[in-house]
């Protein structure tokens, strides 16, 4: 069953990821990204991380991507006026070269991780990935990072308000 679901889902995620960087209008990119995130939520469910899957939908697809859509609407970036691949001739070669390097790195990574020896998941308890389990870990072993994260979010909120309010001139 897992095999039957995982491979189509993974293919879908990769396709949608490619869609983000290939499509010429930002709206289509954003939609592909949303679809990719939903697919990844499915992958998380396959790995028993139910809470994280729902968080992925609420936080990424539900909040972050709505912000993206909001900005796209606000700036009214509908038209594909940007000529995607050839807008800056002096840098294109460098970019493409770096892109090839990245693909080479992917090949190398694939070679390395194909030697990983973990073929089947560990036997996990029933409450694996539930709110209780993740929450217990979060509030026992990771209290300090959690508090730091809250301060980070507060700082980001204040920063966003200040940036959006003042006109830079």
């Amino acid at each position: 069953m897992e095999l039957l679901i995982f491979y189509p889902l993974a293919g879908f995620c990769v396709l949608m990821g490619l869609g983000v960087i290939i499509s010429s209008s930002p709206i289509n990119s954003a939609l592909s990204l949303i679809a990719m995130m939903m697919g990844l939520a499915g992958v998380f469910v396959l790995q028993q991380a139910h809470f994280l899957a729902i968080l992925q939908i609420i936080v990424y697809a539900g909040a972050i991507m709505v912000l993206f859509m909001f900005v796209i609407m606000l700036l009214n970036l509908k038209s594909a006026e940007e000529d995607t691949w050839s807008i800056r001739p002096q840098n294109t070669y460098v970019s493409v070269l770096t892109g090839f390097l990245a693909l080479g790195a992917l090949y190398k990574i694939a070679c390395v991780i194909s030697q990983a020896k973990l073929d089947s998941p560990a036997a996990v308890p029933d409450d694996f990935g539930t709110v209780v389990r993740v929450g217990t870990t979060l509030f026992t072993d990771f209290v300090l990072p959690f508090e730091v994260a809250s301060i980070l979010l507060l700082a980001a909120m204040v920063g966003a308000v200040v940036l959006a309010k003042n006109k830079i001139d």
């Binding site: 729902i54 609420i58 709505v66």
Partner: protein, 345 residues
């Protein structure tokens, strides 16, 4: 051949049962929509001292059917400047998310049927309430896409307003729900109802911090479902019809369906979280009685939704935002602290 089919059924009972449940619940939900439209029009008529639809069928009950036939046969107009794909996608997203988010709503307690333990829900997942929030959060995209793809300034304004409004009120909604979660100690909707089944803590509504949470949740729920007095995304007087200005025929009807199904889901959530779900406290707890009690509570809340619509004038947009961020949200946070403090003590 026949044996093969039986074997298949035996092996995949769970899957088949799930599919049947999903189909039944989805079609029941779609069947409720015309009734709800009828109810709304009749009640609105009474509130405004007129009769409402009463020509087609007894009490005008045939009116929604004839309306939907009319909408089905209308020409579907798409203007040239629209983005075709997104234009078609938007109503689909609205209806799809509305139906899917109802999947985890339990409608009565677990019961036995043919020796098999069952419940009247499509699925009873561990973090049910989060699932509802996650999927109904996806519903925003339907409105945003409709606003973007129509290529019309009124639609765009409607889309912008709806996304801003729904993000803002989702916070209050979540914090009010968090009070109930803290009170129950579980994210599961069935657990939430079963927590309320005996007298000392029956009806979450009667618990002081949860009373405030109920009011907050109700207000935020109205804003989330884009109902009057918070129907800014489709304010007729300002934006023609908001994000669905350019839609005609069946696609327009789909936006309506989405809105009404969201209303039902929201009422069901309020019933489960605050009004004791299928508990009647007096009558014997049979599954049938539980379902009737649940349906009664939900339809009462739906009537309140309609009542509010015909009573209050629409709020101004900047006031809506100020109300959400500077009034509801602080109260929700303080209320959550209060509830947590009471739980600790």
């Amino acid at each position: 051949m026949i044996d093969g089919i039986f074997q298949f059924i035996d092996e995949n009972t769970y899957l088949l049962l799930g599919i049947i449940k999903a189909v039944v619940i989805a079609s029941a939900l779609l069947g409720v929509v015309p009734l709800l439209v009828w109810l709304e029009r009749r009640l609105m008529g009474r509130f405004q001292v007129r009769l409402g639809p009463n020509r087609v069928g007894p009490y005008g009950l045939g009116q929604p059917i004839s309306d939907s036939i009319k909408l089905l046969f209308k020409e579907s107009i798409i203007q040239n400047s629209a983005d075709k794909f997104l234009f078609h996608l938007a109503p689909v997203v609205v209806v799809f998310t509305a139906i899917v988010s109802f999947a985890v709503i339990p409608m009565t307690g677990p019961f036995e049927l043919f020796g098999e333990k069952m419940g009247l829900w499509a699925s009873n997942i561990n973090s049910g309430i989060l699932f509802v929030f996650a999927i109904s959060g996806m519903g925003i995209y339907g409105m945003v896409l409709a606003g973007l793809s129509s290529n019309n300034k009124y639609s765009l304004m409607g889309g912008l307003r709806s996304s801003a409004q729904m993000i803002s009120y989702e916070l209050t909604l979540g914090l009010a729900a968090l009070c109930v979660i803290v009170h129950t100690g579980s994210l599961n909707l069935v657990d939430m109802v079963e927590r309320q089944n005996s007298w000392p803590n029956a009806l979450n509504l009667l618990n002081p911090p949860l009373m405030i949470a109920f009011v907050l949740f109700f207000i935020a729920g109205i804003a989330e479902t884009n109902r009057a007095p918070f129907d800014l995304p489709e304010a007729e007087q300002e934006l023609v019809a908001g994000f669905h200005t350019e839609y005609t025929g069946m696609k327009f009807a789909m936006f309506f369906m989405g809105e009404y199904i969201n209303m039902v889901t929201m009422s069901a959530l309020i019933t489960l979280m605050f009004l004791g779900g299928w508990n009647t406290y007096i009558l014997p707890d049979w599954a049938i009685i539980g379902f009737v009690a649940f349906a009664f509570k939900v339809s009462f809340l739906l009537c309140v939704f309609i009542w509010l619509r015909s009573t209050f004038p629409r709020i101004r947009y900047d006031r809506l935002m100020t109300f959400g961020w500077k009034f509801l949200l602080p109260i929700a946070i303080v209320n959550l602290f209060l509830e947590a403090a009471i739980r600790v003590i």
